[in-house]
């Protein structure tokens, strides 16, 4: 199913300066992997070599942190929104 992924500002330059992307996927991990296939520079920002979420990002699926669900295996619903929140320190 098609889902929307909103990237944080500090990752958009790695994805054609586009904030919101659409992919067809059934799980959070699949959606992120598809996005990383299209924009390979995102890979290390989002996922470890083992395919796990990096410890400096949080991924919210329709407002819920996927670490409180099934993490990368969390299943998507139609028209789900994935919001990626990156660790920031700008002060």
């Amino acid at each position: 199913m098609q889902v929307r992924i909103k990237l944080p500002a500090n990752m958009r330059a790695l994805a054609d300066d586009i904030a919101e992307h659409k992919v067809q996927a059934t799980t959070v991990g699949e959606a992120l992997n598809l996005l990383c296939e299209q924009h390979s520079d995102l890979q290390s920002r989002l996922l470890s070599e083992e395919g796990k979420l990096q410890p400096f990002v949080n991924v919210f699926l329709d407002g819920t942190n996927v670490r409180e669900l099934e993490a990368e295996l969390t299943e998507l619903k139609k028209e789900s929104e994935i919001l990626i929140v990156a660790a920031l320190a700008g002060g």
Partner: protein, 250 residues
Amino acid sequence: MSRTLTEEEKATYEWQMWVHDFGVEGQQKLKDASVLISRAGGVGGVVAYQLAAAGIGKLVIAHAGNVKHSDLNLQLLMTYDHLGKPRIESIERRLKELNPRLEVVGIAENVNEANVTAMVEQVDVLVDCAPLFPERFAMNDAAVRGGVPMVECAMYELEAQITTIVPGKTPCLRCLYPEAPPSWTREFPVFGAVSGSVACMAAMEVVKITAGIGKPLLSRMLQYDLRDMSFHCLNIARNPDCTCCSEKSA
């Protein structure tokens, strides 16, 4: 020892004391409160200025270095005539101009693991505004060790995020982000209005937790993007494996 509000203070803060659940009692609590701000730059400077304006009793501010041109688009406590001179002097001068009753403890150092505990022990609340993760983690760890609430606020470009940490009750910074992103750099894109926006919210979080009004951002993170004006208030949870605040870390 509590110092009661003077007539001058009652006149100065009259309009905010009209906030129905704040009143004279809330103003007195602000006067009795002390806050540590880690770096008074684009975020921390506005936090400090707003708290000084609101009548906080004491600010402890840690900020090293001298004023540079690139400070002046966002660091509202730095002034052109102070270029090349210590930032902490400009910070103290500007705050005292606004509120001469304010007690300011200026420290011409940035927070680090060696100096943070002594700073935290002086105050009731912390506001974390540093531009580097080692400083933020040092503040977080000291907050958890000391059981001191901390407002955690940060920004990048047109985005910002803020949450309020109460050790033992809410997620700490390391619950949210166990590690710093390797790609983070000291310099980042910023408009002063973006850093100022999250700073004003941080100042209100301090007012709320000090005066006991409203609903602070406990176990919630406000994340927003002023590019498209999207705001998300996200529920966040403690990490049972947190290396800082979980039972396993004890």
